[in-house]
Amino acid sequence: MKKILVIEDNAMVIKSLEFKLKKDGNDVTIAHDGREAMKLLKDNKYDLILTDLMLPFVTGNELISYIKKNTPDTPIIVLSTSTQENIIMDAFNMGVDDFITKPFSPNELSLRVKRLLIKN
């Protein structure tokens, strides 16, 4: 069972991701904001991280830098409402593995998660 950390503040998106990813056989942990995610990341190791960019307390970009510094091999998927090219480019330059824009297709997301988990 793969351990996935979902960092997201939208309750509806959280529930859907949790439901879908658990259905796919993963062990899903939820962090509702950046601060909670930081705490979880200090004490646990994850096979994949799924994060929003606009988060309370600690932004998605700060989180990505933190993850890349401490566990550079953990794959990261960004799930964001932003369609701006510079934001997407910045995220990839920071080392994220995939970028999904909201509204998102849960089936597509599930496939991308599976692909990254197999790859790693």
Binding site: N10, M12, V13, K15, S16, F19, K20, K23, K102, P103, F104, S105, P106, N107, E108
Partner: protein
């Protein structure tokens, strides 16, 4: 000590002076008023807590129901929908929360899941409730109903929505415009023919956004609304001609350069500048001084983007010596044409700063 047994209220009233009676009456009136007010606040609070609790319960139920419906292959859709409809769609509050939650899900999901939600909305019989809301008469219910229909791509006969295109409430008009835009296969702005109320700035922004992000058909020919009765519609069309690079419509924009309406004239100059119409400056510069300040500023902007230093000097010759706003703009543009002059001014500034002149 006061003896209650021998107290006679009527006797007491008879023996009390009228000013005391008035005082007692006023005191009693205000005490009862305060009591009614206090009880009402408590009652409203209790009602709100009860309502919120029911709302939370329904939301929790819906999150599980919708997730299972969308992602659980073992979920018996037909049976579960029937059960949900019979047991959890009985009160107006339950219906309202369900519509809102489905819309919330739909807003965040796309692809197959979004289409499944549209089917679910129909199967739960929520279209009928939405249509009832549409005729409710309260503007916010009507606006919400139109929003639900457009978000979930539910088509209803055009005349049902057209009736709201000229509503007094801005929000209702905006939602009906978005309905036509989001559901149109072609001619997304056909509703403008039936619009008699001016488009607000926000409506223009929303229409443009919906045209770019939701409408998938061919771009309409915006010149068909250049002779519309509403200035705001004409203004919007002129702007869209440039946004959609409809170069073939340049000749139709030229007459607006002679318009008496500054808004239209300004928009036409802006659009023709963006379309890089080479003949524009020759039409504008000779009559520069006859224009209002706003048009003069727009002409200067056009010279900056399309013209040469010679064109700018021709405009400069027509500027009044004390017209500071225009002169400042003129000199700012001049710096762009003469980079060495800009460098000279900067060197002079640095020199003065260094020696504290």
């Amino acid at each position: 000590m006061f003896n209650f047994e021998n107290f006679n209220f009527y006797l007491f009233l008879d023996s009390t002076p009228w000013i005391m009676k008035l005082n007692i009456f006023i005191a009693l009136f205000f005490i009862s008023l305060a009591l009614i007010f206090f009880i009402s606040i408590i009652w409203i609070r209790i009602f709100k807590i009860y309502r919120n609790e029911k709302k939370r319960k329904q939301q929790g139920l819906l999150i599980d129901f919708l997730n299972s419906y969308l992602f659980d292959e073992d979920f018996n859709k037909e049976l579960e929908i029937k059960n949900f409809k019979e047991n959890h769609l009985k009160t107006p509050l339950e219906i309202k929360v369900t519509i809102k939650e489905i819309l919330h899900f739909h807003e965040n999901l796309k692809g197959e899941s979004a289409r499944d939600l549209e089917v679910l909305f129909r199967n739960l019989g929520l279209v009928e409730f939405t249509l009832m809301d549409l005729d409710d008469g309260r503007w916010f219910t009507t606006a919400r109903a139109i929003n639900a229909l457009s978000e979930l791509s539910i088509e209803v006969p055009n005349d049902r929505i057209e009736a709201y295109l000229n509503e007094s409430r801005n929000e209702v008009r905006q939602q009906s415009q978005l309905y036509f835009l989001k559901l149109a296969k072609e001619q997304p702005l056909k509703f403008l023919d039936k619009t008699v109320r001016p488009l607000t700035t926000w409506q223009q922004i929303y229409i443009e956004n919906a045209l770019k992000n939701f409408y998938k058909g061919p771009a309409p020919d915006f010149s068909q609304w250049l002779d519309h009765e509403l200035t705001s519609v004409v203004e919007f069309s002129i702007r869209m001609i440039a946004r959609y690079n409809q170069f073939e419509n340049i000749p139709k924009l030229i007459p607006f350069l002679k318009s008496k309406n500054d808004t239209l004239k300004c928009e036409a100059i802006n659009s023709l500048t963006n379309l890089e119409d080479t003949g524009l400056l020759e039409l504008l510069i000779p009559d520069f001084s006859e224009n209002s300040r706003i048009i003069k500023l727009q002409i200067l902007e056009a010279v900056k983007q399309l013209g040469s230093y010679e064109d700018l000097k021709r405009v400069g010759a027509q500027l009044a010596p004390i017209d500071w706003e225009l002169r400042i703009k003129y000199h700012n543009i001049e710096q762009g044409f003469l980079p060495e002059k800009k460098e000279l001014i900067y060197s002079q500034f640095m020199l003065e700063k260094r020696f504290e002149i």
